[in-house]
């Protein structure tokens, strides 16, 4: 595994960070716990057969969405993936409207028409999650094209899994982004598995070698360390914002659950021992917990307090979504055309 990350250290404040170092990382902690508990609720709701469709959980990968979105402005853009709940939450979406969307309710972000794999929210710059692997690489690059053309100073972040490395369109837009020096950051969340296949069986060469071929500024980082992710993301994002061109960030991480909630028997493609190691040794929430407590920024009681507050929010969000009405059937033909 490539790990070329420097140790987090004091540096310029990320654009999205407010307050003291302690406040910043306690906020990151709260966001990561929010994503973890959101996904726990999704699993619960799904297995109780209250949620239709598919559910792809982000658990284990929280440090990436949180570390990167913390380096973004509210009006910066993101595009997300089928495993996108974490990106939406980290960019500022509210859990109640997200759950409503997951259940196909009118109060959802997309009036129930998108579902888990298509949450979009203009208010937080979320151009949408995408259920085509690599499907949003053009959209993110196009948002960066607009930002550069209109001089808005915005940056676009394109989240995708390492499975998207197999899609040719990624390389087409990386070429364009470098030629045109667009303010876009491609974030490869390498959770090791293309669905049910280890990425080394599907990926020739190296991941960063792909960016190097285009001359794109690239880095890799421990995707389980939110502070490390945030530091390198802040550098690359501000570089892009100031006209320095696109960037590519490889974040090595691990998908705790199966490809989707129904993917339970996984031993044919990965061992329980491997899963256990990631969950105990490299859990992003535990990594940050350790740092926060060592610095004296938090103790077990204060972190428990945050978790119980978040849990209450998630439970209330689920209740809201379950009680919310479905859209009227006459909604079906609305929004086909603007």
């Amino acid at each position: 595994m490539t790990t070329a990350t420097s140790k987090p250290q004091a540096g310029p404040k990320p654009a999205g960070a407010a307050g003291t170092e302690k406040e910043k990382w306690l906020h990151a902690y709260r966001q990561m716990v929010s994503i973890r508990l959101f996904e726990e609720q999704v699993n619960e709701v799904y297995t109780r057969a209250l949620m239709p469709g598919l559910a792809h959980l982000y658990s284990g990968e929280e440090a990436i969405a949180v570390g990167i979105c913390q380096a973004l402005r509210v009006d910066d853009y993101i595009t997300s993936t089928h495993r996108g709940h974490g990106h939406c939450l980290a960019k500022g979406a509210s859990p109640d409207r997200m759950f409503a969307e997951l259940l196909g309710k009118e109060a959802g972000y997309c009036r129930g028409k998108g579902g888990s794999m298509h949450i979009a929210d203009p208010a937080t710059g979320n151009l949408g999650a995408n259920a085509i692997v690599g499907g949003s690489v053009g959209i993110a690059t196009g948002a960066a094209f607009t930002a550069k053309t209109l001089g808005t100073g915005r940056v676009a972040v394109c989240f995708f899994g390492e499975g998207a490395l197999g899609q040719g369109s990624l390389y087409e837009v990386m070429n364009l982004a470098q030629l045109w020096q667009l303010p876009v950051m491609y974030v490869c969340e390498n959770n090791q598995y293309n669905e049910y296949t280890h990425y080394q069986e599907t990926t020739a060469g190296t991941i960063l070698g792909r960016a190097a071929a285009f001359g794109i500024e690239a880095a890799s980082v421990d995707g389980q360390d939110v502070r490390a992710v945030n530091e390198v993301a802040t550098r690359l994002i501000e570089r892009a914002r100031s006209g320095g061109g696109p960037a590519f960030l490889q974040c090595d991480t691990y998908r705790y659950s199966g490809h989707h909630v129904g993917d339970i028997n996984r031993e044919y493609y990965r061992s329980k021992q491997e899963e256990h190691l990631w969950k105990t040794d490299r859990d992003p929430i535990l990594v940050l917990t350790k740092w926060l407590t060592e610095r004296g920024y938090a103790d077990a009681a204060s972190l428990d307090q945050i978790a119980s507050e978040v849990r209450a929010i998630m439970e209330s969000a689920v209740k809201f979504a379950i009680a919310a009405p479905y859209p009227n059937v006459d909604e079906v033909e609305k929004h086909v055309y603007a």
């Binding site: 853009y77 053009g138 369109s169 087409e172 929004h335 603007a338």
Partner: protein, 328 residues
């Protein structure tokens, strides 16, 4: 309004130039669109007026730059992408069908994709099987997209201006064999709404519903039919979606006989859809089954006599219409 003769290509260029002057968000993205003005020279002069930031040359990456246009449209620009040959839309299908067409609906109406894809169709240019197809039926199939098929310089200018102002993804198919066709075009700013058919010629005995350059073929056939005492009406839907069903059905009811002409492949194609619309809407007024004429169901061959056999011509349309009106 002042009118002069322009070629189809000049009409397209004028529409683009007028819209780019009117709205600074309109930009052109594609292969060799700037100094080269495309191989068809449709865009000559635009980069000189609007600069390379708004007339943007790309690498040969149809999927890539179409995807960029989708994202640019969602975030505040109004891109017009140029896909040189309609055959190359295959490379853009995910961006158009899964992204552009669905972003508005999937987001519950939050995001919009006001973009235009200009591309070409039409055989008989001796360009063989990968540069000659008419694949507009594919996009017509997909909800969320609009599909425009201009048949005259006048329509080309008015429809393209409307397409650029539309808030949705619009695919604008130009028959590359019509670029030199001349016709009257007003100098003034005018637009033609999408979804309004145009009766190109009025008649009583048979309706020829035709799209794109097949309108010119139908008008030629109508002159031949007139010599036989058969009065043909030529109806041009101008857009396959939205579709002006009423004008098609009204004409069918009036004449009682219909041939549908379109240069796409016949199987599961535009002719099938239009014929079904007419059959459903005018069945009890028809004196004959609706006839369909499209490209033959073969890859377009290179050899000129073979290629010419694949598409409807004035003569074949004339013969088919005469047989319907005067059964032997």
């Amino acid at each position: 309004m002042p009118e002069r003769e322009l070629t189809f290509a000049q009409a397209v260029r004028e529409a683009l130039a007028e819209e780019m002057r009117r709205d600074s968000r309109v930009c052109i993205i594609g292969e060799d669109v700037a100094e080269a003005g495309t191989p068809f020279k449709v865009l000559s002069g635009l980069v000189e007026e609007f600069g390379a930031k708004r007339v943007v040359d790309t690498p040969i990456s149809e999927a890539g730059f179409t995807g960029v246009a989708v994202g640019a449209a969602m975030t505040g620009l109004r891109p017009v992408v140029d896909i040189m040959f309609g055959d190359f839309i295959t490379l853009t299908m995910d961006q158009m069908v899964n992204q552009a067409a669905k972003a508005h609906y999937m987001s519950g109406g939050h995001w919009k994709v006001p973009m235009v894809m200009r591309t070409t169709l039409g055989a008989t240019r001796r360009s063989a099987a990968q540069h000659s197809q008419s694949l507009h039926a594919w996009f017509s199939h997909v909800p969320g997209l609009k599909v425009v098929l201009p048949s005259t310089p006048f329509d080309a200018k008015g429809l393209l201006k409307t397409a650029i102002r539309d808030e949705n993804p619009v695919i604008f198919f130009e028959d590359k064999m019509m670029y030199k066709l001349k016709g009257p075009v007003p100098e003034d700013d005018y637009t033609i709404p999408l979804g309004v058919a145009d009766v190109k010629r009025s008649g009583d005995d048979i309706t020829l519903v035709a799209t794109s350059s097949m309108v010119q073929v139908a008008l030629g056939a109508a002159i031949l039919l007139e010599r036989e005492g058969i009065s043909a009406e030529v109806v041009d839907p101008r857009t396959t979606w939205p579709l002006d069903e009423k004008t098609l059905i009204d004409s069918a009811k009036k004449t009682s006989r219909v041939i549908v002409l379109d240069e796409g492949y016949g199987r599961y194609g535009v002719t099938a859809e239009l014929a079904a619309v007419i059959a459903e809407g005018a069945f009890y007024d028809l004196d004959a089954p609706v006839k369909r004429m499209g490209a033959m169901h073969v890859p377009i061959p290179f050899s000129p006599p073979l290629e010419d056999a694949t598409v409807p011509t004035e003569q074949t349309v004339f013969e088919a219409a005469r047989a319907m009106c005067k059964p032997s």
